[in-house]
Symmetry: C2
Subunit: 193 residues, 2 copies
């Protein structure tokens, strides 16, 4: 490859170019087992119909529960919960009870039957029903496409027009390894022409 | 839907729950025409093979150029370039020459033939070759899966172990509408157990 002057080839850690990005907790439950994991490879896919995509390690226990149950939630945190989210991302729930280890509590939305984290309290939740799972698009990863069936945010921190109130909301963003960061205040862009 | 206490149902602007997130410029060229657009619905998909996914409005001119050429790049900016990125996201290149309107310059990597922005200078670039385009997963949106064929970052701002040096790098993040933000410094997480 010819790398332009002033740049360094970063082929081995290329995905860090697309970080920092929000770090979430994904929750799922199937056959009486509940688990959750950290994930930042999550994004909106389409506004209408409301759909998201999530990239999940095929070996992860949460991915297995999503495949089995067909539902999951995406839980949004502030930077204050970085230790919880980091820990959730480094412990497997396959052979341990991650919930009690981390002091977390999961509840189901009675209207949808979809589990979310209740404690530590997320500032936003998207509940999703699997629309399609692509298992052949990457060797180790499922590309999960989900319909958004419910979406709610902390009433003190979010408004429908501007989204999060960034003066008062410090969204958790994952940089690399143990490194997290958060947003600063708002910069208002103007049109150049 | 039953919204838990302390939360507000945000079904109409649900995707803002997943913001702020990095805002990029996507560049493509086909049949002698070059164009670019702003996008923040972009993420890594798999580490090995290195793959990314991008959600693109089917009607966008850049999406058409990607379908025709099979290649594109993702260009990363700092918050200093918010006016450029915002403007790139609000002007269509279909009937105008967006490059000259915005004073931008595009170059091709001689080794790969893939176009990137040269000016205003991005701090990082991922060059990608389309692996697969899913046109049936959302009505108005292509889900583009691309192989990463080159990845390079500003040699002063990035290192392979920690990614961006967040003390000195202010990544552009899109909040909502004209509102952008950037990262703060690094918080180091610790394991709870």
């Amino acid at each position: 490859m010819s790398t332009p002057q002033g740049y360094v080839d970063v082929r081995d850690s290329w995905y860090y170019i697309l970080h920092p990005r929000p770090a979430y907790i994904i929750v799922a439950e199937a056959n009486g087992k509940t688990n959750f994991m950290a994930a930042s490879w999550v994004m909106p896919l389409s506004e209408e119909p409301p759909r998201i995509v999530v990239a999940l390690d095929k070996e992860s226990y949460t991915a297995k529960l999503i495949v089995d149950s067909g539902v999951f939630s995406v839980n949004v945190y502030t930077v204050n919960e970085r230790d919880f989210v980091y820990s959730a991302g480094t412990i497997s729930g396959k052979d341990t009870d991650k919930l009690s280890l981390l002091g977390a509590k999961v509840s189901k939305n009675p209207a949808t039957g979809i589990p979310r984290i209740e404690r530590p309290r997320p500032i936003g939740v998207i509940e999703s029903r699997v629309y399609k799972i692509y298992g052949d698009v990457a060797e180790d990863v499922y590309l999960v496409v989900g319909d958004v069936v419910a979406a709610y945010a902390d009433e003190k921190l979010f408004n429908e027009r501007f989204g999060w109130d960034l003066r008062n909301t410090k969204i958790l963003l994952h940089a690399a390894g143990r490194g997290f960061t958060t947003n600063s205040y708002v910069y208002v862009a103007r049109k150049l022409i």
